[in-house]
Chain length 308, copies 2
């Protein structure tokens, strides 16, 4: 159980849900097209991504022991329940397996993209833990970017299948010419990145005390908790603007229920900002929970294709 | 000066010479073909490779301080002339610049190969320093592999230029159909890998004393210096076999002087083995120097195209 908490199992389940959602969405949206979807290979891609995220979560706790003794002493796992040495060994083992899966997929589909993205993610999470998380906004930005990468990885899997140059592949110009459109997934990926970037800023505002010990320069440290949360809440409204622009330019997608889920999430974002502006007693913890909720609602939009 | 020794400047010059050699060889061998060779971009690729090698050499010394105090106390640089902290900072800076150059080249030539190979090399050198060099033969194998990678990287640069799908590119099937052949470079790359693998085993035989301190499990540690050098010398004869097979199957390449240089290098390898077998007084240091010489002679074969 301690181990499941160390790897942040809910976090990993969300990644699985996202990637399954993207696959379901693309397969149902484009069910008139021949995409040679291989369930096993896609599962390997999801598994490899989850391994990297798990390794990233572990190594992050490994370097956070000092701060976590103050921020969440009751939830400290590394050094208390699991030996530091084991965390390192598991971290590299998970990453090695994940990278090898990436290499296999790259070899199998004749594209470097899977091995490359997985290796970049492994490196990004490592540098996040040892350096970037202590730098103003850079660390938060990296987490936002990595969030965006999860749905993008799924898109790249489909685009490799779809745009293959092999004769009779869907996109081969002489035999078939339909190309999948991923615009909705792109929107979702960017919004997820924005939302998680904001959530990270809010999280930093919760962790001020312990972060002082390990010299983290967070936005909250610089401007205080309240101001930094306010900046984060203003920033996440960007998703709403992007969403409106997107549906205005891509009216053909309006035939699903996706828009309702994203609408609810955006509205909640807006209400949260207004409440935070006028109610000075609202806890940062509550803001954090609501931001998690809006992300989950946004994610649900991927499964709205089943409602039709 | 100390800094030049820390990054192993001769080692880096050899890398530059190799990559320049491959480019010269391919350009002169295929001078009837249109390859859109960009000197600046190729220089960037060479520079990026050199940066990674320099960073790898630095970090290797960083983790070797303890052993080097015994093996080469007079040549110790890290901690004595350059602060440990600076070595780490320079190491990551060099790698970051090298990776960004890889990303630029990948973006420019629309192929992931440069960013990917550079990132893999950075990771391999890091893992070599913290783990693999202490493992029996694995570390030596990794150095062999990285040696092979240097000429291969040049080949990939040319194959990206040559096999581009753009109309009027040399390989575009409707407009031009000549494809470069890189077989000779492949042979050279593999032989260089074999030779350096052998040289690493010989180097380990020189370093037994200090390696005991940092728990390195080298072949020399297991079987003694003399036996391990003998194994290495037997192993490098493989190059001769590969060379004979190659020129037998690729007689069209026999119009250059390449074969003479490789012939001299192979003969020297053979003589070295025979001398070592019968003269028990020969120093390991001498063997090491001769192996460096044969590698250099092999490298000269790339420039033999100018003799014709």
């Amino acid at each position: 159980m301690k181990f499941l908490r160390l790897i942040r199992i809910t976090n990993l389940l969300i990644i699985i849900l996202t990637m399954v959602g993207v696959a379901d969405y693309l397969l149902i949206m484009h069910n008139y097209q021949k995409v040679n979807f291989n369930f096993l290979d896609y599962s390997l891609l999801v598994f490899s991504t989850v391994l990297i995220a798990a390794a990233g979560n572990m190594i992050n706790d490994y370097f956070d022991i000092k701060a976590d003794r103050v921020n969440k002493p009751d939830r400290l796992i590394v050094s208390k329940y699991i030996k530091k040495r084991w965390v390192i060994i598991l971290h590299w083992t998970f990453n090695a397996i994940a990278f090898l899966i990436g290499v296999y997929l790259s070899y199998h589909y004749k594209t470097l993209v899977f091995a490359f993205v997985q290796l970049v993610s492994i490196n990004m999470l490592w540098f996040y833990s040892i350096y970037f998380k202590k730098k103003l906004l850079l660390g938060n930005g990296m987490i936002g970017l990595l969030t965006t990468l999860v749905p993008l990885l799924s898109v790249w899997f489909f685009s490799v299948l779809n745009e293959s140059q092999v004769t009779h592949s869907p996109f081969h110009e002489n035999t078939w010419s339909h190309v999948m459109h991923y615009n909705f997934i792109y929107l979702l990926a960017i919004c997820a990145g924005i939302q998680n970037f904001g959530r990270e800023i809010v999280k930093d505002a919760e962790d001020i005390e312990g972060d002082k010990l390990i010299q983290v320069k967070s936005l909250a440290m610089k401007f205080g908790g309240r101001v930094s949360v306010l900046i984060a809440l203003y920033f996440i409204q960007l998703s709403t603007i992007l969403g409106v622009l997107f549906f205005w330019k891509n009216t053909e997608i309006l035939n699903g229920y996706e828009i309702y889920f994203l609408g609810i999430a955006s509205t909640l974002n807006g209400i949260l900002l207004v409440i935070y502006l006028f109610n000075k007693k609202i806890k940062i913890r509550t803001v954090h929970l609501i931001l998690k909720l809006t992300m989950f609602i946004g994610l649900c939009s991927l499964f709205s294709v089943f409602i039709r």
